[in-house]
Each structure stands twice: as C-alpha cells, then as structure tokens.
Amino acid sequence: MSVKQNLALQPAEAVSPALLAVPPSPSTGPSAPTPRRRRLPANFAHYLVRTGALVMAVLLWHLAASNDFNLLLNFENIPTPVVVGEALLVQLASQEFYLHIGYSLERIAIAYGMAVVLGVMLGVLMGRSRWAEDIILPYIELLRPIPAVAWIPLAILMLPSEQSSIIFITFLGALFPVVLNTVHGVEQTPDVLVRAARSLGASKRAILWHVVIPGAMPSIVAGLAIGMGVAWFSLLAGEIISGQYGIGYFTWTSYTLIQYPQIIIGMLTIGGLGTLCTLLVRKACTPLLRWQAKGGRP
C-alpha cells in the first residue's frame, strides 16, 4: 500500500533510485545522476547563503560599533557583538530572564488561542452569511488600522488587570488577520464542489464541514501564521507600556536603565521567539494541507 502511495504521490522520488540503479553507461551516465547530485547541494547552498547573510550583518555591526561609525546611523552607543554575546551568557544563566520569556509565552498562548478560535468562527460565519458579513465587516475595517499601542489606554481603563490588558491587545492583533484570511478562504469555495456535495446528498452542515472549511484551510493557515507574527508585535507594545515581566518589559527597562547590550538581547529574543512560534504554527498545520500538490509550498 505504501509503495503504491509513493508511486502515486511522489513520482520524482520513486523514479530517481531506479535511474540510479542502472549502471552508468556512456549515454545515461551524464544525465541520470544529475537529479541527486544537484538537489542536495542546492538546498545546502541555500542555507549556506542564508547563514552567510546573517554573518555578514554581524560583521558589519561589529565594524560599525567598534569604529564608532556615525553617519546618518549612530553606532557610538551601540555595544559590539562580542559585548552583547557576553551579556547574553550572563542572562542565560539568570532565572529572571526565563521568567520574562515565560510570561510572554503565556500571554501569547492565551491571546493567540482565543484569537484563533474566535477568528475562525467569525470568519466562517461572515464567509457563509451575507448578513453576518454586513454586520461585522464595518467593525473590522474600522478597528483594524488602529495600532496596538493606541489600544493601551483604553485597555487599561476597561480591563481589570495589567495582565488582561496586555492579553487583550495581543488578542486583537492576532484576531484581524485570522478573520480576514478565513473569510477570504471561505468565500473562494468552488461552486462545483458545493454542487457535487449536494448531488451526493450532503446536508448544509456536511457541506460546511467537508467542503467549505477544508477548502478554506490554505488561506486560514496563512492567516494563522500572519496572526502569530502580529500577536508578538502587539504583545511587545503592551509589555513595553505596562507590566512587570515579559520580554518587552525587559527590553524597555534595559533602555531606561542604560543597559544597552540587554536591549539588543531583548530584541533578538523577540525576533527568535516570533520566528519560532510562526514556524510551529506552520508545522502544526502541515498535516491539514497534505493534499496540496507537491511542489507548492505548504
């Protein structure tokens, strides 16, 4: 069974070992091994270039910071990568650093979880019902352009604790991309598939579950990934202004305490965690998109 599946799903992979098994003759020799010889190094080369690009940036940073470069950008007060690296080691050994990270992750988990559940539900509702879309869309259009920072005063006034204000702001940030992408995906359901399902005896609910939602899934997953990015973005805004813990708080306090290496550590931690979380979302959703044609990026 698995062999058949492989044959059906991965013609390229299934064929290339067979080609390689043929002893290299003058005619097949040059052409047959090319797929393998080229594929692996190609991927490897990509990562090499990516790593190189990052190393280049660190190198430029080092040169600019150690030579007190000051033209448009001022590097006089910026610590060198080596100093930052040393400070990072100190932070990694301290418990408080992990407490900051833990608080941020907890807020993300709660806020993002709520945004995903509510966002997908609202999105499906709006995508399926003209009425729901007409009622909800104006709110979304009006509220979406308001940046997270602008919500802070109102959130503090309306919500009982700092923790809940930060979670609320994070939730709002993640909500909009999830809703809008879900609506987009649901509205793109091909009519022929709905008709096929109806002629096979599917009820409205079955159509929603078997046709509309799976069809919208690529768009929903894109929304989930974007939403995770925006969630971090909004979380930081909330943590900078208020709170006692969190990686955003850590970054901002370092500035007020003139601990410049810590600012950079905070920023890089945010970048790393955001990337990691988005990657996790994409990985978690991959099984849902297994059906998409090979070669297309999930």
């Binding site: 059906a8 799903l9 022929v192 002629s199 096979l200 005896g201 297994r290 059906w291």
Partner: protein, 289 residues
Amino acid sequence: MNSAVSDNRLAVLDHSRQRAQAETSGRGHIRVQDVHIEFDHNGGKRAAVQNAQLEIKPGEFVCLLGPSGCGKSTLLNAIAGFVQPSRGSLSIDGLAVTEPGPDRGMVFQQHSLFPWKTVRDNVAFGPLMAGVGRNEAMSVARTFLSLVGLAAFEDAYPSTLSGGMQQRVGIARALANYPSVLLMDEPFGALDAQTRIMMQENLLQIWREFRNTLVFVTHDIDEAVFLSDRIVVMSASPGRIIADIKVALPRPREQSMLTSPEFIALKRQCMDLIRQETLCAFQQQNQVG
C-alpha cells in the same frame, strides 16, 4: 484484452451489480414538460431554455447535443435540481424535482473531486452522507474504484491523478450512491482524443451493467452518436429542442462502427442540424455586437 480485464473486474462486483439492478430497474423515468428556464441578465431576463419537452425512459442513454451556449447544460442542471425552471414541470418517477438528491448522480466536466480527500474518501462521501457506516462506505468505495480500474490509487489525492483518471473517480463517486439517473455534463470534454475514446468505451461497459438512465451533455457529434440510444439536438440560444434522433446502432458499440455507413449517416444528420444552429448563433452574436 481490455474487455476481458473489465469482465473480470465486473465479476468481483457481482453483489453491487445485483444491488444496482434491483435499485434502478424500472426507475429513473424523467419527464420534462414545457420547461422554461430564465436567468437574470443585465437587469432583465434572458431565456436559456424554452419550451423543453422531453421524456426519457428508465435505462435509456440520451445525449443532449447542441452548439456551446445553447442551454443543454442548463437543462441538465435543472434535472439535477440545481436550477429551478421558471415555468413547466420536471419530474423523476412522478416526483417533482425541487433540489439535488442522491437519486441523481452527477458527473461534472472537470475539477469536481474534493482535493483534500483521498480518491477512496471521495467515492465514500455519498454512502457516508446516506448514513451507512464508515466501514461499509469504504468497502463500497473500493468496489466502485475497481469498477473504474483505479483500486490501486485509493490512497492518492486527486491532484496526483491525470484528467482521465480524475473523471473515472468522478464516475465511481456518482455511482456509489446507486443512483437511478446518471447526469453527465461534458464529462470527457477536457480530455485528449485517445483518452476520450477509452473513457467512452469504459462508460458504456459500466452502463451496460448498471442500466441507469443516463443523460449525457456534449457538443461532440461523434461522441453523441457512439454512446446514445437517442440524441436530443438543441438550438442556439435560447435553447429549444429541435430534433430527437433515434440511434439504432447495435450494442455493444465498438470503435469499428465509427466508420460504418449508418454511423456516418447519423453523423451527417446531426452535423447539418448543428451547423444551421451554429450559423444562427453567429448571426445573433453579430447582431448583438
């Protein structure tokens, strides 16, 4: 060789064949009476089908033939229950058609499989919706997949199959509900010529076993003559039925018949009718333009 393989396949399907014959025999009587179908068009109404009068007996294979845009697909969609006629009545076995239902299997032109379901889950969808258990739905799906020769691909996703294979899955999916009527909307229109002929022969073998009433929309005259018992020719927009031609070629149909005098005579008859209609359609378009 090809038919020997198919016979073997069909022997395995004895049970479902018996069930299909029991469920469909004497059923699938389609009656179309004075049907008008209109669409909204630039604020006004535009007739797609006019005065359609048609009776199709149980187990009959009827082709709706006409130039593109003549409303033959619209009429098929009305029988399927997707489109409501603005006047007249449509019934299957005396029951008025009000909505789509599993008694009328539908095969679309292309891209109608659920891409996120495996081939097997696509075919099992109808039985599952009918409320049979998961295990039985799966076994029904396997049975019908072997009927169309795709048992080996049950775990594949549709996007990995060729167009012809996808259409065979579509046929298996429509048959898995044991429909008394099978409606096909230019099912082979997007396939290359060689594949199309294979698909036509395959369809005739299946139909010989199941004896559903079959309504097949096409603009391909050869296809219509080769497949059907009757050809209903429709005029250019608005669609009216202008001829109802009996195809008396013997069955089983074979490719050698494509060059027989009877075949050519029928083909000529259809060609003349279609040519006139296509010319009419061109003139209409020129007047509009």
